[in-house]
């Protein structure tokens, strides 16, 4: 059954996917460590802490030290996952990640909950809108966000397998579970949910679901949609973007500032190829605030309706 025919009913935060997967990984591989920074409860690492205390460290409220300590662990062959919120994991420890993780290309993973607008009621201070952009500009760093619980688990497992720094971003709030648990994902490779010929929608993270719903509506109106889940914005699957240029009309959707995230990454390829047109749907270069998650998305035009109308406008 195609994803388009499936009714999505279950919702789960993708941080749960991280929390569940990391325990499995840690049991199988004693070199996997979690470095917590006093938000383990919220980042879902408490089971890891309980079951695998020898592979767990809690540095207290000291992000910079957490990043440096993880780098030190990695020099001895450990595979540390630093667990914190996306704002702190991308900004408070940005320079430590640059100097001690990316510059020496150490095997450290930065696993962050509270990506985008998903800690909705925490307000703007806790909503990371620029994290993926910041981290994609560091050499050696890979930047990944799964679209649901299952894909997050798969991507976390794969991040542990591949050598080098990976930034993994999760949602705090519940989002629809769209994939089957057996679905496979490859870091750096776009997941094509559906092929089509009139318009391409490239989404990632919690907005893949919106793309999916928009695609359903557009298909009903006879518009053929190609839909990609671009869970990895770096390295970007350039080939997948270039293939969209056969259609020529692309809409990107992301729960991130439209500056420097998925939309920017796709636009870079499109501009270099010199053909095609892109419309970016995402956070409108403004900070968030406390509100229901859906309301925040709406304020930024990150909605099914806006994807549909943007598609129609492009097809005019």
């Amino acid at each position: 059954m195609s994803l388009l025919e499936k009714d999505v009913v279950v919702k789960k935060a993708t941080r749960e996917g991280f929390g569940d997967e990391i325990v499995e990984l840690g049991k199988k591989n004693k070199d996997i460590y979690v470095v917590d920074i006093d938000i383990g409860k919220s980042c879902k690492t408490t089971k890891f802490m309980k079951d695998l205390p020898k592979q767990h460290v809690n540095v207290g409220i000291a992000e910079q030290n957490g990043a440096g300590l993880a780098a030190g662990l990695a020099t001895t062959g450990k595979i540390p996952f630093i667990s914190t919120y996306a704002v702190f994991g991308s900004l408070r420890m940005a320079e430590q990640i640059r100097q001690e993780v990316c510059y020496p290309n150490l095997n450290v993973k930065i696993a962050c909950s509270h990506g985008g607008l998903t800690p909705a009621n925490d307000g703007g201070s806790h909503q990371a809108i620029e994290d993926m952009g910041v981290l994609r500009s560091f050499p050696n760093m890979k930047v990944v966000m799964g679209a649901d619980y299952h894909s997050t688990r798969k991507l976390v497992a794969q991040a542990a397998e591949i050598y080098g720094p990976v930034y993994l971003r999760f949602t705090r709030d519940n989002i629809p579970v769209i994939y089957d648990e057996n679905e496979e994902f490859t870091i750096g490779k776009a997941k094509q949910i559906k092929d089509g010929s009139d318009i391409a929608i490239i989404a990632n993270g919690d907005t893949v679901y919106l793309g999916l719903e928009a695609a359903k509506q557009l298909e009903k109106e006879g518009i053929s949609v190609k839909l990609l889940d671009m869970h990895t914005i770096k390295p970007l699957d350039r080939e997948a973007v270039v293939e969209c240029l056969n259609i020529g009309k692309i809409i990107t959707v992301e729960d991130h500032n439209i500056i420097n995230g998925l939309g920017s990454a796709v636009s870079e390829v499109v501009a270099e190829e010199g053909k095609g047109i892109v419309r970016r749907i995402g956070i409108q270069d403004r900070f968030g605030e406390s509100a229901p998650y859906e309301k925040l998305l709406e304020l930024n035009g990150i909605t099914i309706e806006n994807i549909v109308s943007t598609a129609k406008e492009l097809l005019k």
């Binding site: 910079q64 030290n65 957490g66 440096g68 300590l69 030190g72 020099t75 001690e100 510059y103 020496p104």
Partner: protein, 277 residues
Amino acid sequence: MRNTSIEELKQKAIELRQTALTMIYEAQSGHPGGSFSAADVVSALYFKEMNIDPANPKWEDRDRFVLSKGHVCPIQYSALALLGYVPYETIHTLRQYGSPFQGHPDMKKCPGIDISTGSLGQGLSTAVGMALAGKRDEKDYRVFAILGDGECQEGQIWEAAQTAVKYELDNLVVFVDDNGLQIDGTTEEIMPNQDLEKKFAAFGFETKRIDGHNMDEIAATLDSIRGKKNGKPTCIVYDALKGKGVSFMENVVEWHGMAPNEEQYNQAMAELAGGLK
């Protein structure tokens, strides 16, 4: 640990200074002041104390060395060159394109560098990570770190310090090079550190203050903490002179990051040849 005599360690400390100065002179850039203040401790660590194997720089059970004040890498590079981690001629390539001797230590480019540093305040955290891994893996290796006194103005140093105490890292030995100078002036003028030994003691370290240019004292201190297993990390604050060994450099702020001209170089090499005063 090797049985190197005090006399030999003193001689090595002079050679380290001369080699470092030659590098900096030829490159016409680098940091002599803080290299010289650390030279005696570096000599004791590399030529006696540390369990290392220059032929096998990635040996799992080696002691680790973290130069948290990474700008003084010429002194560490000198040790690596003298011990044969790299061909001795590498000393003529400091800060050049393609050289393992980058402007600041780069573990990807230079054998014997256990962690890349250069951004102050971060090295101690990485040392804590290495020491913690050693504990968890029940290994016997130790981790030695050298910090600048100015560097201790960085908050992250104290984040790392409290972590070392929490995890009972008695396999961690932290040296603080208390030379009293930083870039813009004395630490007293720029940001008074108060008593760094007391600060580390308050965090839960076992501490000691020694003369960082007295080889007998350095060696005796290292003797006294070898094999220590009491659950407490060690901090040795050493009193030092920036530029130690060259009369016109000693305690002069400007020699933090300046290369000598030919005349200065020759005079400095001659003075060093006469040993420490």
